[in-house]
């Protein structure tokens, strides 16, 4: 393994972020490589680590004071083994080639895991939208798309939003694409609802994490019915996680924000959830107020001097970390297991530290890593493409149903993959292997291209 990695490092010695991503994937798929000598034979790793195409381009634009500004645009078309490149555009001053290659590399396997026919890519620019006027953002987006448009298309490459690219930017980008290509096709996802966007986008991640948990339980003839669930966070992901837990008959008892968490033993019912949504989305208050409104709940203030989070010490069946990175450390993982939690489904991105993951895997609980459990967002992007291709706009119910179907297939892929490699029930190995083998097999099938 190190020989391949060394070659990759030698090629671009300063792309540290990218090397890190490659190293992590290599570590997780070691058993696959060991068992399939043809992968090494066909230099699969070196091929994977080399983007199919890297486009770097000039983005000149004029600011509001009439001064010319020049940014650098990128599109990394990493792999189209399973379908058109798909991945977000990021506008942020930190954007550079190494970071985008790192993100594109991860995106390839993430997308493969969804079981949808989409490849992987990533793009963006070192443009900083902070402090820019609408007009400046529009001029930048138009200039960016004036080059990018010739490289993308509904069957070639379908970018989406990412940091710094929201509904406004997607609108400007789409407008310019349409103008230059004289085509109104599904070339971007994240579009406005009135012009090709899909429903269930804000809900997708939270719903998906619960669907995945339900699938895990189903393997032992269980269900979410009657399960007590710990949910961290109180944003979109957490709110829709609670909503889907309620739909499936479970009971969510916690929510949190950066100041602390509430524990409502009686369960967060629909009325309380609606109140939380208003609190967080409209009033933008603190979750502390929940305990004032509903005296049956207990509020615990965050304490930075503790080396664990007391939220994870509450007795429950399932945990849905939906707040932030590294919110569950080794000690928290121990506390969870000790208190009877046997399902952990990650709605947030990388909420568990490596120690915590090891502990979950060692104790053989149902642990769904983020790359599988929070794939709902990518899945709905895929569904937006499907709707555009069919020139249809599905109802909420239909999108939700499809989402559930996708989460089910992801689950099946994971279970099959880990079973195949003798790691039954290890969803971490399953997710890593399933995504990887799908891409690699497609590459082998399609010959040396």
């Amino acid at each position: 393994m190190s020989e391949e990695l060394n070659k990759i490092i030698a090629k671009d010695p300063d792309q540290k972020e990218f090397h890190q991503a490659v190293r992590e994937v290599l570590e997780t798929v070691q058993p696959v490589l060991d068992r399939n000598p043809e992968y090494r034979q066909s230099k699969i790793l070196e091929r994977l680590a080399e983007p199919e195409r890297t486009i770097i381009f000039r983005v000149p634009w004029m600011d509001d004071t009439g001064k010319v500004q020049v940014n650098r645009g990128y599109r990394i078309e990493m792999s189209s083994a399973i379908g058109p490149y798909k991945g977000g555009l990021r506008f942020h001053p930190s954007v550079n080639l190494s970071i985008l290659k790192f993100l594109a590399f991860e995106q390839v396997f993430k997308n493969a895991l969804t079981t949808l026919p989409i490849g992987g890519g990533k793009g963006g620019s070192d443009f900083d939208p902070k402090g820019k006027s609408d007009n400046e953002v529009m001029r930048f987006c138009q200039s960016f798309m004036s080059e990018l448009y010739r490289h993308i298309g509904p069957n070639t490459d379908v970018p989406a939003g990412d940091i710094g690219v929201g509904g406004r930017e997607i609108g400007y980008l789409f407008g310019q694409y349409k103008r230059l290509s004289n085509e109104s096709s599904s070339v971007l996802t994240g579009k406005g609802l009135d012009w090709g966007g899909s429903l269930i986008r804000p809900e997708a991640t939270g719903y998906g994490a619960v669907y995945f948990a339900a699938e895990m339980l189903a393997t032992r003839n269980g269900s979410m019915e009657g399960k007590t669930c710990l949910v961290s966070g109180s944003g979109n992901v957490a709110q829709y996680t609670v909503e889907k837990i309620l739909d499936l008959g479970g009971k969510a008892v916690t929510l949190s924000d950066s100041a602390g968490f509430i524990y409502d033993e009686t369960g967060i019912d629909r009325e309380k959830l609606a109140w939380v949504k208003a609190l967080k989305d409209i009033r933008r208050g603190r979750i502390k107020e929940y305990a004032e409104k509903y005296p049956e709940a207990v509020y615990t203030e965050a304490n930075a001097t503790l080396d664990y989070n007391p939220l994870w010490t509450i007795k429950a069946d399932c945990a849905f970390p939906s707040a932030t990175q590294n919110e569950i450390n080794g000690k928290d993982a121990g506390n969870l297991i000790e208190n009877g939690v046997f399902v952990v489904s990650e709605g947030a991105n990388m909420p568990s530290t490596p120690d915590a993951v090891d502990l979950f895997v060692d104790h053989k609980i149902f642990y769904a890593p983020g790359k599988a459990a929070n794939a709902g967002g990518v899945a709905v992007s895929g569904l937006e493409m499907s709707q555009n291709a069919m020139r249809l706009a599905w109802s909420r119910e239909k999108v939700d149903k499809r989402l559930q179907g996708i989460m089910k297939s992801i689950h099946t892929s994971c279970v099959d993959a880990c079973a195949e490699y003798g790691e039954k029930g290890n969803y971490v190995a399953g997710a890593n292997i399933a995504g990887f083998t799908k891409v690699v097999n497609a590459m082998l099938d399609q010959g040396l291209v």
Binding site: K130, R168, G192
Partner: protein
């Protein structure tokens, strides 16, 4: 403390006559101070000519026979470099008094050529006292009796001058009142004593004084002991800021005056009263009608009383003057009508009388509730109540009762919001209840001068003897009523100098902060909308919809107009109510100023009229110029800064047009000079040489002298992929430091607060909440663009935390490895916490975006070495 530079010089021709009287005064100051001066010496018995610069003063001097020149020290800064000496050569012998603002003036090169230097704090009667002092000095009547004041500090002399004259008038009424003689050292005091002998009426002396060219702690005791021995019947008093000297005073024996006492002037008054009681009464005439005359100025400012109008009202007087001089300012935009709300001012003498007559000064330090109750129980003079009643008869809009204290808004002490502001609905059916509400509000503003934090502030200004006095402004509140609440659509503050520029903005283009509702949101530093008035479309605080959702204002303050208790709630927030934006969604200001977030599309639409959470973005005003508020504010800032001779801060409100259409109503509430970077953070060449950190790209302004703790990322243990661990370690150190409320210097590579762990340490503000200054080091450890503090922009701008970017190279450098007297408190591996035995000196020159960090301990060692 600055010593008095006292020089006796021959006066001009007319000063030679025994009855020298000042008639013509030349006042040299930047235009900002003129209205304040006029108000403070109103009614003026002198002919006053104003010169806006030293150059103009020089031109005016030969044209009229001036008896005295006052120079406000800011006026010495004009580009011509003309000095006091220049003026003196033009008109030899003409007395010149230099006026300085209260506050630290150690950086100021005080001009040695002035006859006297005094502090102009707006202490009532200071001008009359200064003029009388000059008259006394040039009095050649050798038979006239005298009071000797031995004092060497500039602050105390400026404080005692009017107080002693007041005492003289109490103790020695009549035509032949003694004159005041000053001595600033042991030698000078003894010389005066020998010369004046039995013509002395009394002697007051400080304890610690220069004696034989050294500061002698017991000089005053020696002076008074000698005097008492030689003239046992002469009234004497020992003064000291050190309470321990009280016993020494008893040994002389002499009464003792504690200079730190809160009732200092009252004690002084009692001393002179005791002198009076020892003399036969000569009868004093008091005309009640003269006590509180009401004068109306053309600007809609009405005053009651004869004292100073206070700092805040001075600003208002200046504002009125500028608007009067530049009528086009208020009329350039037909969409907006500019006005200054009608204002009634109760001058400082009313406060002083109220406190004295009711014996309230003795309550200093008592528990808050007792203090407040005593103020409420004390009656306002009937005369004042009658005035207020007349005022209320003509006014039925809500009123703001604000403090306008002497120190408040002084140039060197921007302390807006230190004292209380009370708002009253003023709509009760019973006029007596309305009057009682107003009287209570006035008394509560008075009481706030005795609150602990207010007194701590006064102490912190280094002008110990200036017990602050307080004028009160009663101002109509600008705004409209929405059901049970009253508030303006927009409250704003504009600063003509911006210490946190971003994007295309430049420091001298200024910055604007907007909030919906009453300005309490801004005063409290709550979430507001920051905008650069030359680039109103840009939103420096926000980089995406998430930012808008999390960081825009969602609560605001309004005045409750109905269902209030008869006695009003004068406690928390004084009848103000903090309302959720969500409660006011159907009210006109929200409809006019809010945008809507569309969750399904992750975008914001600049209109209230669609479904989704509302976000206050002020888009209508800022993006679409309806009305062009930023253009108006630009014009106002430029004009006011020009007239004030330096950067200013302006407070205003903008209220929606009424239903019949018409213009927006723009009310200008206050203007004051911004503290000048020159005073606070001038970076010298020596600073640059001795600094352990130099940056040429720093946000912020001012000087920090209290930080002793340094939390920094250890470059030796740094690992690129481990930044989230570093964030955890910092968080733990921060929590520990928070327990003792210690602020620290945070230093490390990369973009602080980056969400991407490869580009910087991904801390959120709560994890570094105790950071008093932040250093972003760009030495190649992390490859990333400078963040310019963008991840914490709201917080650092609101708290004035300097964000120091260091690009090691030609002009920038940082080296924290060799700090003298530094010990490691905690080493977490990646992060180290060090504590110095002395605070660092952090100087930020906001005008030029430069900063230095100086190891003050090292500098001291350096001096000792020499």
């Amino acid at each position: 403390m600055d010593k008095i530079t006292q020089k006796t010089k021959a006066g001009p021709e007319n000063t030679q006559s025994p009855g020298f009287q000042v008639r013509n005064i030349l006042f040299v100051s930047t235009p900002y101070h003129l209205p304040g001066l006029k108000a403070d010496i109103h009614p003026s018995p002198w002919e006053i000519t104003h010169a806006a610069s030293m150059e103009e003063a020089a031109a005016r001097l030969p044209k009229a026979a001036f008896d005295l020149v006052f120079i406000e020290i800011e006026a010495l800064d004009d580009k011509t470099g003309m000095t006091v000496q220049h003026l003196k050569t033009l008109c030899p012998g003409l007395p010149v008094i230099l006026l300085v603002q209260p506050g630290p003036c150690k950086n100021r090169p005080l001009e040695q050529d002035a006859d006297h230097i005094f502090i102009w704090s707006g202490t009532p009667g200071i001008f009359h006292a200064m003029v009388r002092f000059i008259e006394d000095q040039f009095c050649k009547d050798t038979t006239r009796r005298a009071v000797l004041l031995v004092e060497d500090s500039l602050e105390y002399t400026s404080f005692f001058l009017p107080a002693v004259y007041k005492g003289i008038d109490t103790a020695f009424p009549g035509a032949r009142r003694p004159r005041l003689v000053l001595a600033g050292s042991h030698e000078a005091a003894m010389d005066q004593f020998r010369e004046l002998g039995n013509r002395l009426d009394c002697v007051l002396s400080d304890t610690r004084l220069p004696w034989q060219e050294k500061e002698a702690p017991g000089a005053g005791i020696d002076i008074l002991s000698t005097i008492h021995r030689e003239m046992p019947g002469l009234p004497i008093m020992l003064m000291s800021a050190e309470e321990a000297n009280k016993t020494l005073a008893q040994g002389i024996p002499a009464p003792f005056l504690d200079k730190n006492a809160n009732h200092l002037d009252q004690d002084l008054h009692e001393f002179f009263s005791s002198l009076a009681s020892e003399r036969p009464a000569q009868g004093r005439e008091i005309h009640a009608k003269d006590l509180y005359p009401v004068q109306t100025s053309p600007a809609g400012l009405t005053r009651i009383g004869n004292g100073s109008i206070g700092g805040k009202a001075r600003g208002l007087a200046f504002l009125a003057q500028t608007l009067n001089r530049r009528p086009d300012l208020g009329t350039a935009y037909p969409e907006m009508a500019v006005n200054i709300p009608d204002t009634l001012i109760l001058c400082t003498d009313i406060f002083d009388d109220f406190v004295r007559d009711n014996g309230l000064a003795r309550l200093t330090g008592r528990p808050l509730a007792e203090l407040v109750q005593a103020f409420i129980d004390a009656p306002l003079p009937r005369e004042i109540l009658r005035h207020l009643e007349t005022y209320l008869a003509a006014t039925c809009t809500p009123l703001a009762v604000r403090s306008s204290s002497l120190l408040e808004d002084a140039v060197t002490h921007p302390c807006a919001g230190l004292y209380k502001t009370y708002m009253i609905p003023n709509n009760h059916a019973d006029p007596d209840i309305r009057l009682s509400h107003l009287a209570t509000a006035v008394k509560l503003v008075y009481a706030s001068a005795y609150y602990k934090n207010a007194r701590a502030f006064v102490r912190s200004t280094t002008v110990l003897p200036f017990r602050d006095s307080m004028a009160v402004m009663i101002q109509e509140v600008a705004g409209s009523r929405y059901k049970d609440f009253f508030y303006p659509a927009i409250s704003g503050t504009a600063h003509s100098l911006n210490f946190y520029p971003a994007a295309n903005a430049k420091a001298d283009e200024g910055v604007l902060n907007l909030a919906m509702g009453l300005g309490h949101t801004l005063a409290q530093g709550e979430q507001s909308f920051r905008v650069f008035p030359k680039h109103p479309q840009a939103t420096p605080q926000f980089s995406g919809t998430r930012d808008f959702l999390e960081k825009t204002q969602n609560r605001f303050y309004a005045l409750r107009m109905a269902d209030y208790p008869e006695t009003l709630r004068f406690g928390i927030c004084s009848n103000l109510e903090r309302r959720d934006l969500a409660q006011a969604l159907e009210e006109a200001p929200v409809k006019a100023l809010a945008a809507t977030y569309m969750p399904a599309e992750d975008r914001i639409r600049d209109t209230w009229y669609c479904r989704g959470p509302k976000i206050l973005t002020f888009a209508q005003v800022l993006k679409y110029g309806t009305p062009p508020l930023t253009a108006l504010v630009n014009d106002l800032m430029t004009a006011l800064a020009h007239d004030a001779g330096g950067p200013i801060e302006l407070e205003f409100t903008a209220d929606l047009p009424d239903r019949s259409g018409g213009p927006w109503n723009i009310s200008l509430l206050q203007v004051r000079p911004m503290s000048s970077p020159r005073d606070t953070s001038l970076i010298t060449k020596e600073n640059l040489d001795e600094a352990v950190c130099v940056s040429t790209s720093t946000l912020g302004n001012g000087t920090l002298e209290t930080i002793r703790d340094i939390v920094y990322v250890n470059p030796e243990t740094f690992e690129g992929g481990k930044t989230p661990d570093m964030a955890q370690q910092i968080s733990r150190i921060n929590a520990e430091l928070a327990k003792t409320n210690r602020r620290f210097l945070l230093a490390g590579p990369g973009r602080w607060g980056s969400s991407d762990p490869w580009l910087g340490i991904p801390v959120d503000w709560q994890q570094i909440s105790g950071a008093g200054a932040i250093v972003e080091i760009r030495d190649g450890t992390i490859h990333a663009d400078a963040s310019w503090g963008s991840h914490f922009f709201n917080t650092i701008t609101a708290r004035g935390v300097p964000y120091i970017t260091v690009n090691p190279g030609a002009s920038d450098r940082i080296d924290l490895s060799n700090l003298a007297g530094c010990r490691t408190v905690r080493d977490e591996g990646f992060i180290r916490h060090m504590r110095l035995n002395r605070p660092l000196l952090i100087k930020v020159d906001g005008k030029h975006s430069r900063s230095v960090i100086i190891d003050a301990g090292k500098a001291d060692n350096h001096i000792q070495d020499e």
